[in-house]
Amino acid sequence: MTYKFIGKRIKRNEDPRLLTGQALFVDDVDIPGMLHVAFLRSDYAHARILSIDIEEARQRPGVVAIYTAEDMGDDWEPGPPLVSPPPTLEGVIFNSRRQAPLAKGKVFHAGEAVVAVVAESRYIAEDAVEDIWVDYESLPVVVDLEKAMESDSPLVHDDLDTNLAAHMFQKKGDYESAREQADLIIQKKFYLDRGAAVAMENRGIVAHWDEKSQHMTIWDTTQAPIPIRNGTAARLGLSEKQVRVIAPFLGGGFGPKAMMFYPEEMLLPWLSMKHCRPMKWIEDRRENFYATTSERQQVHEVEIALTKDGRVLGLSDDFLHDTGAFDPYGLTIPLNTQCHVTGPYDIQNIASNCTAVFTNKPIVTPVRGAGRPQGVFVIERMLDFAAKELGMDLLELRKKNLIPPDAFPYDKEIIDQAFAKFVMDSGNYLPVVEKAREMIGYDQFIKEEQPRLRAEGKYVGIGITPFIETTGVGPYEGARVQIEPTGKVNVATGIGTQGQGHFTSFAQIVSEQLGVAVSDVNLVSGDTAQFHWGTGTFASRGAVVAGSAVLAAATAVRSKVLKLASKVLEAPEEELEFENGTVRVADIPRQSISLGELAALANPLRGAVEPGSEPGLEATDYFGPAYGATAFGVHAMIIEIDPETMMIEFKRYITVEDCGTVLNPLILEGQIHGGVSMGIGNAYYEKMHFDESGQLLNASLADYLIVTAHEMPNRIEIGHMETRSPFNELGTKGVGEAGAIPVPACFTQALENAFQDFDLEILETPLSPNRLFELLQREEHEE
C-alpha cells in the first residue's frame, strides 16, 4: 500500500515544545492557595503499627493537617481491583488484596504510606514528617518466593492460610505424551529478579476541588486518565462529569503509571475536597523505588521435550511469580509470560502452571515487557541448551521450529492478558531471522572473526534471538476528529502520552485521510474533558488501537468533506481529491475549496442544517479488536568482555523488526533505542536488591545502575520487514516494548558464547559484572 504521510520520517510535532521547555508537566501546575503533601512511609517491610504520635508535627508552623488511616473514617477503603482474573480460564484461584490509601494497623512492605502531612510548603511538610513518631512491632518478613510457599512461612496477609496470591494452569495438547515420544528431555531452573522502571519523571498529582463549581480537576502522571477519572468519581461520590483528569506531558511511563490507583492517587483528591484547596504531591526518587510498582521476579522450573533432529515436541513450565504485597493488577504479567514462553515457535504441547506469591515487597505491576521478557528468556535459554545437547547450530534449531507463514492466524490455545485466546494474527518469521543473520554476519563471525579474535585472547561472543510481542489488545479506544474553519484539524483521544510521539504518528494517520500537513493536525490526548471514553496507554496498544480509532474517525470526516465538497464544487465525489488542505476536482485543479471554508459552510449562521445531517466536519469513532496483533523481531549482538573488569562493549547491535505497517520510522527507531537501553539494564545492570528483611538496599540512582550512554552500543542498526496485520485496517502492530523484551535472553546467549571454554551455564537474570565474575570463578573452581 502506498501512503503519502504514513511511513514517512516526519519530525515530531511535539518536540519544539518539549525541547524549549514549553510543555506542561504535572510539577509545572501551580495554583494560588495550593497546599503540599508529604508522606511518612514505613521503614519496616512487615510490622504492626502500635501507635502514631503526631503531636509535635501538628505544632510545627505551616502544618495544616495530618492524617492517619484512622482519621479517614469511613472514607478509608482500599483501591479497586483493576483487572480481575480471566473469567475465560477455568479453575483460577485469585486472592485479591489491594493497597490502601494509608496503612491501617499493619504495614505490608517498606515504603508503604502511613501518615500524610498537609502543609503550606513541601519543605514544611517534609520537616513535619520527621517530627512524627511511629511505634512499630516488627513481624517476620517474607521475601524469597520459594520460602514464601513453604508451609512454615510467615504470612503476608494473615487472613489467608498461605502466601498464595493466585494459581492458574493453562495447557495446549498433551505435554505428558509429548514427553514420552521425545528423544531428549532437558530440565532447568531459572531465577529472574526484579528491576525498576525508573521513568525520568517520578509520579506526581495535583488535585483541585473547586467548591463553587463543584468540580474536581486532577493533573496526574497517569497512563490511563479515563479509568482514573471514573474510579475517582466513584470513590468521592461524584458524577463522572464533575471530575476531569488531565495527564499532561509525562517524562516516561513504562507501565507503573498505568491505572494503578496508587495511595497518593486516592488520597490527594480526597484531601482537596476536605480542605477545599488545591493539593500537590510530587514523588521523590527514593519514594519512587518503594511507592511505585516494579516487576520481573519469577522462578521457573522448565522441561523441554525434543526429537533428536531438533523438533520441539513440548514444553512444561512451572513457575512462581512475585506479586509483592498486593495484587491490584490481577494476572496480566504471568498471563503474558504464559503466552511468550513458547515464543514464535510451533509447539503443540504446552503445560504452564503459574503460582503468584505474596511477599513483603513493593507492589508488582507491568513494566515495559510485562512478563514477556521472562517468557522469552526461558524459551531461548532452553533452546540454547537443547542446541548444545543436540550439537546443532543455535539458529538452525530455532528455524526448524518457527511457526510457518501459512499457519496464521495461529492459535496458541492459551488465554492472554486481554482474556481472549492468544491468536497470533500474522507473521513471516524466517525472512526476518535471515535478515538479522545477514546483517550481523553470523556465519562469517562464527567461522572467521571469532576464532581470530579468540586467538588474540579476546572474549567475544555473538547472540541472536527471535521473539514475539503481543500488542494492540482491546478492549477499545476512541477518537474525535474535527476540521476547524482555520483549516487546522483537531484530534482528541482518551489515551495518555508519555513520549511515544502520538502527536505526530496520529497526525500522520489524519493527514493521510484529509491531505493536510502533519503540522496542521493538533492532537489532545489524555484529557478527559476532551475525550472521555477509553482505557489507556499500555500493552503496546497506542498505535494499533487508538491509531485505528483515529483512522476510523478521520475516514468518517473525509466522507463528510466529500459529500459537502461535491455539492459546493458541483462534481461527483469520485472525481474529488484531497491536496494540501484543499479539496479539488481531479481534472480541474483550479476548481477547489479549502477545508477551512468547507468547515465554515458546515456550520452555518443562517439557513438550516438539513434533517439527518450534523453540523460541522467532525466525527467520533472507536476501534475494539477481538484479538491483539503479534509483532515479531530478532535482536543480534556481538559483545566483547573485559576479563579484568567484566565490563561489556557492544561491538555490533542489530534489531530487525516486523511490526506490520510502520507509521513513522523515526519514532519506531526511538522506541527501539529506548527499549534496548532498558533491556541492557535488565540484562546486566539493573536489579533491585532486597535483603532478607525486605529492605531495598539500592534505593537511589547512585546505587541502582541505570544504563547511560557509556553502556549503550555506539550504534543500533535497525532493519525492517513488514507483515501487515489483517486485524486492523492500518495493518500495524505495536512496538513500544519490543526493544526491551529479548535483550536479557540475547545477551546471556552472547556471554555464554564468549566464555565457551568455561562451560558457563547461566540460569539467572539480571547479571552484573560482579555476578558474572562470581559465576566464572565458580566454573574455574569446579574444574
Binding site: 521503614d43 517498606a110 527514593r286 535483603d691 528483611s693 529492605q695 531495598l696 537511589s700
Partner: protein, 144 residues
C-alpha cells in the same frame, strides 16, 4: 549484615571486663552516644547520634547483655529506632588472655538495618560501623 573482628586491649582480662560492663565508660566510648542508662539488670537504654553518609539522625533504643560468663564472654542484643530508620542486632564477645598484660577481644554478630539508613546508607554502613567499633574500642583501651 555480618560484623566480625578482633581487637587487642593493653590490659588484663578482668580489667577489660570491668570496663565494658561499666555504662558510664561505655557511654563515653561509643561514638555519638548521648546517654546510656542502666534501667534493669543487664538492660540499658540510650540514645545515639549516627551519621552514615548522607543519612544522619538519632537512634533511641535498648541494649541487653545476656549469656554472661565473667570475665570471658557475653552476648549483646541491640534494638534501636530513629527517624531515619531502625537497627536490630546481636553479637557475641569473647575475651581471652594474650600474654601477661594484654587481652584479645573477638566479636561476631549480625545487624539488620531498615529505612533510610538501609536504602541510601547501606553502601557505607559496613565501613561506618567498622570505624565506629574501632573508635569505640580505641577509647575503651585508652580508659584502661
Amino acid at each position: 549484615m555480618k560484623l566480625e573482628g578482633e581487637f587487642t586491649f593493653s590490659g588484663p582480662r578482668e580489667r577489660v571486663w570491668d570496663i565494658i560492663r561499666d555504662p558510664d565508660i561505655l557511654a563515653t566510648a561509643l561514638p555519638g552516644t548521648k546517654k546510656l542508662d542502666l534501667v534493669g539488670e543487664n538492660e540499658y537504654e540510650g540514645e545515639m547520634q549516627v551519621r552514615i553518609g548522607p543519612v544522619a539522625g538519632t537512634f533511641g533504643g535498648k541494649l541487653i547483655v545476656s549469656n554472661e560468663v565473667a570475665p570471658e564472654s557475653l552476648t549483646l542484643t541491640v534494638e534501636g529506632k530513629g527517624k531515619v530508620g531502625f537497627l536490630k542486632g546481636s553479637g557475641d564477645i569473647v575475651l581471652s588472655d594474650q600474654g601477661e598484660d594484654a587481652t584479645l577481644m573477638k566479636y561476631s554478630g549480625e545487624v539488620q538495618i531498615g529505612g533510610r539508613v538501609a536504602s541510601v546508607g547501606q553502601r557505607l554502613f559496613d565501613t561506618v560501623s567498622k570505624s565506629m567499633i574501632k573508635q569505640g574500642l580505641d577509647k575503651l583501651n585508652e580508659a584502661l
